[in-house]
């Protein structure tokens, strides 16, 4: 197996993280732009690393837990880059890159499972999984943004304004970014879930509609719809919405770990 793309990805993400951190501490714009550029290069290299991994194991990249983690890292980086370009705000990069890097390294330092390829589920199934992981990535991003919001708000209230706080996005922008991220997650999870039902309908002998995974996915969907509605009201905008967003992500993590591993009948391939 060729290690060129994983190594390139790791180096690009690591350098990007260093540059984002430096940008946050010094405010040097060129450093920030280079950070974004390296993140973009990392994304391209990561794509090829995922492609090679799939080719090497003769299966889809989300075939095993590690592949899913790598895809999650890639989609998190992609969502973040989209958000950064849309909102023209790169000071959050220093907080998101560690997550991307951890997921990427955890996935690629572990060997790919050599299990027999799963049954071919087709394009609908592939889209279902990819969109679901994209939704989780977007929710993870909104979680990080909410944490930054609460931290920055606390610093502002306590008048502890170091250089870093001065370079973070304004509170209202963080709020908007979090909502944008949740919107991406909501659309993805809604379409992904619908495609999941379509996909399972096409499979012979798998017509159980009582899987706990479905219940928790619908709960996640409902909670984020609630967040999206409340976060736009004046009474909830700000710290309350951020706390709700953090709570919602705890449910997402439960769905991704406990439910997938121990409760679900149809999502155990993680």
């Amino acid at each position: 197996m060729n290690h060129l793309f994983p190594v390139l990805t790791g180096v690009a993400y690591l350098l990007s993280l260093i540059l984002y951190v430096r940008f946050l501490s010094t405010g040097n714009r060129l450093t920030g732009r280079l950070g974004t550029l390296l993140l973009g290069l990392g994304l391209v290299a990561h794509y090829f690393a995922l492609w090679e991994r799939s080719r090497g194991s003769h299966t889809v990249p989300y075939h095993d837990l590690y592949g899913s983690m790598s895809l999650f890292g890639w989609l998190l980086a992609l969502t973040y880059l989209g958000l950064e370009l849309y909102h023209r705000q790169r000071s959050v990069g220093a907080f998101v890159l560690p997550f991307i890097l951890v997921f990427f390294l955890a996935a690629h330092l572990a060997p790919a499972d050599r299990l027999a390829p799963p049954p071919v589920h087709g394009v609908v199934f592939a889209l279902h999984v990819t969109l679901s992981i994209l939704a989780y990535a977007a929710f993870a991003l909104s979680f990080v943004l909410s944490l930054i919001f609460l931290g920055e708000e606390r610093h502002l209230r306590n008048h502890k304004l170091g250089d870093v706080v001065w370079r973070l996005p304004p509170l209202e922008l963080l709020d908007q970014m979090s909502r944008s991220s949740v919107l991406v997650g909501l659309i993805s999870i809604a379409i992904g879930t619908a495609l999941g039902f379509v996909s399972i309908d096409q499979l012979p002998g798998q017509n159980s509609f009582y899987d706990p995974k479905y219940v928790i996915t619908l709960l996640v969907l409902a909670l984020y719809v609630l967040y999206f509605r409340l976060a736009r009201t004046t009474a909830w905008r700000g710290a309350r919405a951020s706390k709700l967003c953090i709570f919602n992500f705890v449910i997402v993590v439960l769905s991704f770990t406990v439910v997938n591993l121990y409760l679900s009948h149809s999502h155990r391939y993680f």
Binding site: L156, W166, L168
Partner: protein, 407 residues
């Protein structure tokens, strides 16, 4: 031990008056000598910069009556008519004088908040006065304290690393919450120099709408006209606080102007939309409880002010200890005199007592008086809290000593 301050600064006097009342080194020395010779002050220190001229001193009598004499002296010294000068001069005694100096050294009283130059100027003024023998134990201690305040504020708070005008600092903080201010509205309470600075900064940042509220409507209209804003009637809080995102207060008031219930009512009317309050008043214009409200952000300069208050408390404690020790010494002298008179009169009829007996009784009484005084004196020296409790040493002095016997 009284401390008096008479002076003027950029807030109270126009530049032409400030120029006429400024001191060069030779004038500062001459003023100190004349003030001592005339018996107005025992210790003197002149602080003169382009933005302020202030005379700090210790008068011979603690009567809180030295400021008028000092004002007259300044008028004569600089040949400025007293009626012109009196509208620009401020005067403070004791605690307020000390607090003022500490705020000056901290850069909190400067036009450019936190500027470092003033600390150097305070240090230089003190060095000059000390070298020329114009200061004594009180001013020495006071100015050493002021230099410590300045140093601490610059090392322990962000004012030292990020000096900026109070207005600019506040406006930048508002941007930390709202981002660009071009779609935001602001209300400015007060129409003084600081308010003017804030309005100017808000306009530079493209604030969409500006409201001005001031006790004097004429001044509010003047400011609103200059910057294209609207005037809101003083006290119409429900209307005034409904729409602005940023509220700046710089009002001269002893009590907070924006109380919790006013802001709480406004937040209900606003549907909890974020509100940034910038308190630039001294003393504070915004009730501290307001900061607890949801989506309300209050900006003030707590750290620097906290250091000022901490050092002020230290100085006052030292001042009280010195005064109390002086009081105890005076009391001891008085009791000894009383004892001598008392023993003489009471032992006169006791002819049977030998000289040795008399000496023995006198010694016993001395010991008793010493014991009575020693313990309280020791406690006063050692216990800071006790010194804080005895706030008014003058009252104790009046209680035990006649004016003739005061130290």
């Amino acid at each position: 031990m009284e401390i008096v301050l008479v002076g003027l600064n950029h807030r109270t006097a126009p530049v032409e008056v400030r120029e006429r009342v400024s001191f060069n080194a030779e004038q500062a020395q001459r003023a100190a000598e004349e003030l001592r010779a005339r018996g107005i002050l025992e210790e003197t220190l002149v602080l003169s910069t382009c933005n302020r001229s202030e005379v700090y001193g210790v008068p011979p009598e603690s009567s809180h009556e030295s400021a008028p004499g000092l004002s007259t002296f300044l008028s004569e010294f600089h040949s400025v008519r007293a009626d012109i000068l009196s509208v620009s001069l401020y005067h403070h005694y004791d605690q307020e004088a000390v607090r003022h100096l500490f705020r000056v050294a901290a850069g909190l009283d400067s036009m450019l908040l936190g500027e470092a130059e003033i600390l150097g100027q305070v240090r230089e003024a003190y060095r000059f006065a000390h070298e020329h023998g114009a200061t004594g134990p009180v001013l020495n201690r006071l100015f050493q304290g002021a230099l410590e305040v300045g140093k601490r504020v610059r090392t322990e708070t962000e004012l030292g690393t990020r000096p900026m005008s109070a207005a600019s600092a506040g406006v930048k903080l508002a941007e930390r919450i709202f981002g660009k201010l071009s779609e935001r509205k602001a209300l400015v309470l007060g129409a003084g120099t600081i308010s003017e600075q804030v309005v100017s900064h808000l306009r530079d940042r493209g604030i969409a709408q500006l409201y001005v509220m001031n006790r004097s409507r004429d001044r509010a209209e003047e400011l609103a006209k200059e910057f294209g804003g609207k005037v809101v009637e003083w006290g119409e809080w429900d209307i005034a606080l409904r729409s602005p995102d940023v509220v700046v207060t710089s009002v001269s008031a002893e009590e907070p102007v924006l109380r919790r219930e006013i802001v709480e009512r406004a937040m209900v009317a606003r549907g909890n939309r974020a509100l940034f309050l910038m308190d630039l008043g001294v003393p504070r214009n915004i009730d501290p409880m307001v900061a607890e409200l949801y989506n309300v952000y209050v900006y003030k300069i707590p750290l620097a002010q906290g250091i000022v208050e901490e050092q002020l408390s230290k100085f006052l404690s030292w001042q009280a200890s010195v005064e109390l020790v002086g009081l105890v010494d005076a009391l001891r002298t008085k009791l000894r005199e009383e004892r001598a008179t008392f023993i003489r009169s009471r032992m006169e009829p006791m002819k049977h007592l030998t000289e040795t007996d008399r000496a023995h009784i006198e010694k016993l009484m001395d010991e008793m008086l010493e014991k009575l005084l020693l313990e309280p004196a020791q406690r006063l020296r050692d216990e800071k809290e006790l010194r804080r409790k005895i706030q008014n040493v003058e009252a104790l002095r009046d209680l035990f000593l006649s004016s003739r016997e005061k130290p």
